[in-house]
Subunit: 365 residues, 2 copies
């Protein structure tokens, strides 16, 4: 289907369909809406790798008992500034939101906080949670380890680390917030899946094949779906220039997985491969500097970034502030809709029909 | 002098000489020892870019009134979990150590803490401070912005950001601690200076020349010493593969410079170009998980890293844990001494003579 326009859907329709699916799988309306909002928001931000394609994956995990759609996370091991959240294998989004809410409340009372979570399923795009801190005029930091091995260590040749992402969101004034949100691998694994589904090449520097050679063929990277074969590895980010991305990945393995008591690459085979170990740090800006002055400085910083002279071949018309591209994508996609690869849409429709959903929600427009 | 063996000095001799120099420049014994210990420890770790070559730079800054060797930092804006330290332009090392001491004490009482500092001179190698947290069975995180522009933004062509480094140190058990410590630029600026002094090429991907082209000639990167000419820029780390290093650099600009009220690239010209804005976050491990169990898990993680299969052309015999190379360098250099480029040594001797230092301390062995 390469080159064909992909079917396009409104965010509202995708949300209604997603909520209907999860409700039929025994999730409450509240949890179904939370999970689907975070998935569709990832599509809106332009990160289809973290979007609605997870509907069918989560449905499968619910059927297998990996996600318990009725389970509720529980706050444990609490102090005025810290806590651990036992996710009890609820939707990862429910656990991560709880962890961030607890962290924000503790930072409100005590200026800074650190909250971890374990027994936590896949949480989706991290910015969803760090932006909760921003809504409270706080800085949100979130690091997540994933036990599922996909990334080769610097100097190594095996699938060793998860894609171990980090997000930091910081409030601005008139401007949209600063949002850093990325995997410490070259890219998120889902970006390889999507390229494979769309039969597109990937840039060199993202993956190596099973012989450790650079490749632009996403099919050289095998995953658990039937669409991609091979046995390649993701590189840590910046791996062609050194060790730093790998060091960050190991750091997040420790903070997300070991400090919190969640799973780690140490436990491979013994823990759930879809577990996300998460650590949130929240800082209340006003404890350091008056919030309005801080926001003005943030706006000025962004203006200075935009005024920096630009490389003529650069793909944007200005140097970008982290998060800015996603804010623009969101406006465009809210207006024009979200493209979904045929294969993803067919899987969703097939699941919907199986669950008894009929009518316009499963039309391809 | 390319290819000639460099003169080699014991750490002890360099420390005695450095302390003598700073005492003659009106520093107390305590402060002189603190600063020199941190500089020489950087040499021992293998990071000569952050080592004893700063003796003459700091001496010059003292003469110009940039560093006040008698000044003491002051803790301001304090809460049980947070503080800002006004460095009052003391030695940066004195201010950074104070900030980390305050952060550790607050984390001891309240589990987590965040302490910033402003009016702070150059602090040297960051690991010196994050390892203070490790000595207290805590996790130390330190981010530092530098107003001095050296790094080109992703998509840009100008000197825009400082090298904005980060360090995180985490305790282990039988093994040496985890130490992540790097510039968010391709490398620290000092590594370009040293290559220029030693007339060595640098790897492609470190710098671009004043026309924005890749170059391996360190002289294409101009700095404030007379040894390097040109007007090139450092790249953000991993810049050949994308934007992530640049995003981290902007993050540290905000957390180190703007949140703390220290200088930022916004204030160029208005603030001191040598100012370091610093933000320390300290987490008390035992609030999250029993410390002995945590340390055992860290040791196991390191063993797992070492057992990972290795790329045949890799320069080390095992996949490395962040910080490990530096611990080995330290053992070697404590035993065999520290190589100092002739040009650096000549500058030090000339300063020492000017200050009236005579005898064996300024012999070249």
């Amino acid at each position: 289907m390469k080159g064909m326009p992909l079917p396009r859907f409104s965010a509202a329709k995708l949300k209604r369909l997603g909520v209907d699916i999860f409700e039929r799988l025994d999730a409450s309306r509240e949890y179904a809406e939370l999970v689907v909002d975070i998935l569709v928001d990832a599509n809106l931000a332009g990160h289809d790798s973290h979007g609605i394609l997870y509907l069918t994956r989560y449905a499968e995990r619910i059927k297998k008992g990996i996600i318990d759609p009725k389970s509720k996370p529980e706050v444990t091991n609490e102090s005025p500034t810290t806590a651990l959240v036992d996710g009890h294998w609820a939707f990862g989004q429910v656990t991560a939101k709880k962890a961030m809410e607890v962290a924000i409340e503790k930072a409100r009372r005590n200026s800074v906080s650190t909250v971890g979570a374990f027994h936590c399923n896949h949480i989706g795009r991290l910015a969803a949670y760090t932006l909760m801190a921003v809504e409270n005029d706080m800085i949100g930091i979130l690091m997540v380890n994933s036990v599922n091995p996909a990334v080769q260590p610097y100097g190594g040749v095996s699938r060793f680390l998860g894609t171990n992402p980090i997000s930091v969101a910081i409030p601005a004034g008139e401007k949209k917030p600063f949002v850093l949100d990325f995997a410490t691998s070259s890219v998120a694994e889902g970006k390889i899946w999507l390229a494979a589904m769309n039969d597109e090449k990937v840039p060199l520097g993202w993956i190596v094949n099973n012989e450790g050679c650079d490749t632009d063929n996403p099919h050289d990277f095998s995953i658990s779906t039937p669409t991609v074969e091979g046995d390649g590895r993701l590189l840590a980010f910046g791996a062609r220039d050194g060790h730093k991305g790998y060091c960050l990945s190991i750091l997040i393995e420790i903070l997300g997985g070991i400090l919190t008591g969640a799973g780690s690459i140490l436990d491979r085979g013994a823990v759930h491969p879809n577990e996300n170990g998460i650590l949130a740090i929240v800082l209340d800006v006003k404890r350091f500097t008056p919030i309005e002055a801080f926001k003005k400085r943030m706006d000025s910083l962004f203006t200075t970034v935009h005024e920096a002279p630009i490389e003529p071949r650069f793909k944007y018309e200005q140097v970008q502030v982290p998060g800015e591209i996603e804010w623009r994508n969101r406006e465009t996609r809210l207006r024009e809709g979200i493209n979904i690869p045929d294969q993803v849409w067919e899987q969703i429709v097939s699941l919907a029909i199986e669950l008894g959903i009929k009518g316009s929600l499963i039309d391809s427009h």
